[in-house]
Amino acid sequence: MSHTFYIAMSYGIAGLVSLCLIGWVWLDGRARRRELAQLEAAGIRRRSATSPAPEGGKA
Amino acid sequence: MAALLLRDLKLSVRAGGGALIGVLFFITVVAVIPFGVGPDLNLLSRIGPAIVWIGALLSALLGLDRMFQTEREDGSLDLMLMQEHPLVLTVLVKCLAHWIGNGLPLVIASPLLGLFMNMDEVAIGATMLTLLVGTPALTFIGAVGAAVAVTLPRGGLLVSILVLPLAVPVLIFGVSASYAAVEDPAPFLPPFLILVAITMFFAVLGPLGAALALRNADD
């Protein structure tokens, strides 16, 4: 096999692994952002965790 | 401290203790090798020290998860954490007890397995000596793994995975020293002294790490 094959393979593998990483991080970030937005829409906010009386929870 | 040593020793010797099972596993692993590589005595005597060392490494890993698990189950681990003795010393004593209970039997059993492997007397002696010096290092490294995984319900396999890469230097120098004793050009002392140094190094690092992990594991 020619050297070009090995070069293409190693760049391919490096690219594939990097793309998988980028894709994973990106998709993970989108999913988390959507979950946070859903929680926000449901009226559950982070600040209410620190406030002593969680009034908003009763609504 | 002496009382703790004695108590741990008794526990490891008594029914279901890991000591006997470890030795049995050691013998079984080494006895299985010839079925894999064939009964050629020359080949066996050549790879003998390596096989005995790998068998000892695997059997040393076998009993590790029990090191702190039983203490955690019956609550005596909390007592050890509250003691006024430094926890590092307690862990060191526990490591020693574990080694006497699980490591020393492997060292004693190794000459017999050396005979199975058709090794000559010098090779058997060298392997036994390197095992005697090297297995404490395995126990000390293993203590960190055992302490880290103590809260996991089935941590045994995980402990082996975590500990094996760290045990590579011990294996390398143990086997090198055993071979150096048989093969003429290579000197025996340098790898052996490095093995001693590794054991002493882990005698400090292992209990320190394990004590830190035990303190962090319970809350």
């Binding site: 070069i7 990483l21 | 760290l166 120098f173 690092l205």
Partner: protein, 260 residues
């Protein structure tokens, strides 16, 4: 007293909310710089001509060496964050070394795969038990073990502290492993293996190598910051879900409170 005050100030400065703000400002720039560096690095590495001895396969070096460098730098980053976890109990440090482990494993995998692909035309086999390949392989196993340990525990704080201890023990061990593997390799050195050219790299190879190394490093930092942000979000989501569940559980509990 003043020292502890300074530490709380410092940790205020690096608290997760501030980190999120900083991350969302920095990330677009970082990804742009990474993309530009990769474009430049790839152009340079394919424009350059091959080594007379190794032929065109020297191009593999431009991805192999940066990945190998990152596999070690990532462990250093993890060790530093582990100190942060154990000494200052900083939640951001927990997140940092947890998210760095998969990245490190991925870059180590790249280094191993490209090393093996380089070895086939150079040495004639896919894998030689060369000192460097072997120690990188041991490093790969350590990364995987750390990921497994972190995933095995439910409580993120405890998992972070226990992993941090193991990371530091591993970090102290890495020089010993490297030294022992070198020793072992010189004992068992097979005659057929061609030793690589050492540090005498020609200048025309050095430039693309440096650019690619920089590009990979920037890629690592971009991904690491993004992954840390994801992890913080994930923890917030689960914390808020727990809180929502607790508040939902409070409503039936209200009657018992009134009866007492």
């Amino acid at each position: 007293m003043s020292e502890s005050l300074a530490i709380t100030k410092l940790s205020d400065l690096a608290n997760p909310t501030r980190f999120l703000g900083l991350a969302s400002r920095v990330l677009p720039w970082l990804s742009a710089v990474t993309a530009i560096l990769f474009a430049a690095g790839l152009y340079l590495s394919f424009a350059g001509e091959g080594d007379y001895q190794q032929g065109l396969t020297v191009r593999i070096m431009y991805v192999h060496v940066p990945a190998a460098w990152l596999s070690m730098m990532c462990y250093t980053v993890m060790a530093l964050s582990a100190i942060g976890t154990l000494v200052w109990r900083h939640p951001l440090a927990d997140v940092a070394h947890k998210t760095a482990a998969p990245l490190g494993a991925a870059f180590t995998l790249i280094a191993l795969a490209t090393g093996s692909l380089w070895g086939k035309p150079m040495w004639g086999t896919w894998w030689v038990w060369d000192a460097r390949l072997t120690s990188v392989f041991v490093l790969f196993l350590m990364y995987l073990g750390l990921i497994a340990l972190n995933r095995a525990m439910d409580d993120p704080g405890k998992a972070a502290r226990l992993c941090a201890i193991l990371i530091l023990v591993g970090f102290v061990n890495i020089p010993i492993i490297k030294f022992s593997v070198d020793w072992w390799n010189t004992l068992h050195q097979p005659a057929s293996v061609i030793r690589m050219g050492g540090s005498s790299i020609d200048g025309s190879f050095l430039r693309p190598l440096l650019v690619m190394a920089l590009a990979f490093t920037m890629l690592f930092f971009t991904l690491h910051i993004a992954a840390m942000r994801n992890e913080i979000w994930r923890r917030r989501v689960s914390a808020q879900r727990r809180m929502a569940a607790r508040m939902a559980g409070d409503k039936p509990g209200l009657t018992t409170e009134m009866s007492t």
